[in-house]
């Protein structure tokens, strides 16, 4: 009686996964506090370029990659439309708010335009998710990629809302309480606060019933159904939450560059998010930010480095690609996974100190 019977019920790979749902006490670790303090006092150390172009940009990309980490790491759903959701939030911030394109922008105040932009992008991502959850594995990647490329071509060709290939420029950023929130230091703290909020929300949710159940759905959807869970509803809710995070990243992105155009939502950009998440590691929320920092550092400095050694500076993607290959080959759970393994090896002599935390 074993025709197709229970074939999907065997533990399989999931047994090898790190116990993402195991209680984590990383917040008590001194290294975590050191990084947190460093991030808070960063404006004292770094100049405007480093503050925004390196750390701010990394945190923003990290937020978008975090939304993919949540879906892929906890839900087992690889979505290539997270940047598209962020892009829609960015576009809506520009369209509903004020910009240099007065014929398109509605000129709403930021406190009205921003929540509306996030709500619309979340709705968009949830609808996309509703389509995607009917598929599994590679088909999820295909359908979300299709959504991403369709959105790219749509923004290119639509002039009424998205202003075609020129996009929307000189987007007005928030000024209130007498502060220009796009000034380097203020903006850095806005980004840091949003990133911390998203990171905290994802970490907290992972151990709440919703997050635990999502990991259950990832490991054994059929069993979850016979425990009373509506598997598809759970997946769609995960898309809604991840969309909201991606949308927050998208709003910061458009405030950062003060402009948005189809180039910001291209398929290449969407792949960048996947690379960031995989390089950082999708087993833990911090991986998204580690991946983003590495990506931004490479993108920013490889050019100078390559030119200095007499090569074509435009080949920085080659380095990223090689790094990506190396990581996928040697550490499928990314830099964070590599780090944990190194710590596991060095900690073996110390009575498995780190074993319980990650076991």
């Amino acid at each position: 009686m074993s025709i197709a019977q229970d074939a999907r019920l065997q533990p399989g790979k999931s047994a090898e996964r790190p116990a993402t749902a195991a209680p984590t006490r990383d917040f008590g670790h001194p290294a975590v506090w050191a990084v947190a303090v460093l991030l808070v006092i960063m404006p004292l150390i770094a100049n405007g370029f480093f503050l925004i172009e390196i750390f701010g940009t990394s945190l923003i990309l990290g937020i978008v990659a975090l939304s993919l980490m949540f879906l892929a790491g906890y839900g087992g759903m690889v979505s290539l439309m997270q940047l598209t959701i962020a892009g829609l939030a960015g576009y809506m911030t520009a369209v509903l708010g004020a910009s240099g394109n007065a014929n398109i922008s509605l000129g709403w105040p930021w406190w009205l335009a921003t929540p509306m932009a996030i709500a619309l992008a979340t709705l968009f991502g949830t609808i996309g998710g509703t389509l995607a959850v009917r598929t599994e594995g590679i088909y999820t990647i295909m359908i979300t990629l299709a959504i991403a490329s369709a959105f790219y071509y749509f923004t290119n060709q639509n002039w009424a809302i998205f202003n075609g290939h020129t996009g929307i420029n000189s987007v007005v950023t928030p000024h209130f309480l007498g502060i220009d929130w796009r000034a380097d230091i203020a903006f850095y703290y806005v980004i840091l606060a949003v990133a911390a909020l998203c990171f905290g929300a994802v970490s907290y949710l992972a151990r709440a019933p919703f997050g635990l159940a999502l990991q259950g759905v990832r490991d054994n959807p059929r069993r979850m159904a016979t425990l009373g869970f509506n598997v598809n509803a759970h997946r769609i809710a995960a898309y809604a939450f991840a969309s909201c995070i991606a949308a927050l990243g998208g709003v910061l992105q458009v405030w950062n560059y003060r402009q948005i155009s189809p180039g910001s939502v291209g398929v290449e950009r969407a792949i960048d998010i996947l690379i960031i998440a995989v390089v950082g590691g999708t087993s833990r929320p911090i991986g998204a930010f580690v991946g983003a920092l590495i990506f931004v550092l490479l993108r920013t400095f490889t050019l100078d480095f390559l030119v200095a050694i007499g090569l074509d500076g435009n080949r920085f993607r080659l380095l990223i690609g090689l790094g990506f290959l190396a990581i996928v080959l040697f550490s499928p759970d990314g830099i964070v996974g590599l780090w944990e393994r190194l710590r596991g090896w060095s900690g073996q002599g110390k009575a498995q100190a780190g074993g319980e935390r990650h076991g």
Partner: protein, 260 residues
């Protein structure tokens, strides 16, 4: 196929589980053929039959893991034939799997807690449980009930086979089960573990009925009041354990067939 009048009839209102003409095809192969079965609330029944008799397919149709090709299934009078599995579970149906279907990366307690969440409106809760949470307490009690309290914090991947089988039962007892399908719960258990299993099954509250698929007659016939024999996807005999055991046809087909 069933008519509207048939669907609305309340003939099965007194039964916990009522199957009428349930057939399941896999391509040209009929895994179940015209199975009609009625089980009273609180009744405990064994389904026996050799490999390929259709026992697990029967379970899969009852839970909705996959739907029957034709026929109707009523659960406490309600036509659940086209319900998704989770709707049946929320109405009090539970099952265990022949091959343990657990969450190896989670702890024992988290596995049971997850099962408790599944049949509670808290399943979507974004808030972590407090230490005095009722669902956590319910999960702790269940872990205790299946004798796993000593390993409650261990990851399931680290458990022995017998402990995983016990956990499988705990998942099926979460919430307020009204009827449970046990798929070979004793598979691979030691004699001591089998005795513990019989204890767990015989001490279940009497309002909880179940169907058990079990090859081990010592287990099966001690924990049930009726037996259904299946062969080649059909039911060919029903009766109390004593009758089934002494039935020559059964002995020919099953008991004498190298099983037992």
């Amino acid at each position: 196929m069933d008519s509207v009048a048939h669907r609305l009839s309340v003939g099965g209102a007194g039964a916990a589980l009522e199957l009428r003409g349930v057939t399941r095809l896999f391509g040209a192969l009929a895994a179940l053929t015209d199975v009609t079965l009625t089980v009273r609330p609180g009744e405990r029944r064994a389904v026996l039959g050799s490999n390929g008799a259709g026992k697990t397919t029967l379970f899969n149709c009852i839970t909705g893991d996959f739907p029957p090709t034709s026929g109707t299934i009523r659960f406490f009078g309600e036509d659940v034939t086209h319900f998704p599995p989770f709707e049946r579970i929320r109405r009090g149906l539970r099952r265990t799997y022949q091959i343990s279907a657990l969450f190896p990366g989670l702890t024992v307690l988290d596995n049971v807690y997850l099962a408790c969440c599944g049949v509670s409106p808290r399943r979507f809760s974004p808030f972590r449980p407090r230490s005095n949470d009722a669902l956590v307490q319910a999960a702790e009690d269940l872990v205790e009930a299946v004798h796993l309290a000593a390993v409650r914090g261990r990851r399931v991947a680290e458990l022995a086979h017998g402990q995983q089988r016990q956990l499988e039962i705990a998942l099926a007892l979460a919430g307020a089960p009204r009827f449970i399908l046990f798929d070979e719960p004793a598979a691979g258990l030691s004699p001591t573990e089998r005795r513990e299993l019989v204890d767990i099954l015989t001490t279940l509250p009497s309002h909880i009925g179940y169907i058990i698929i079990e090859h081990d007659m010592d287990v099966a016939l001690r924990v049930v009041e009726s037996v259904t024999m299946m062969h080649n996807g059909r039911i060919f005999k029903e009766g109390p354990p004593a009758d089934i055991e002494s039935d020559p046809e059964v002995q020919e087909l099953y008991l004498g067939g190298g099983h037992g």
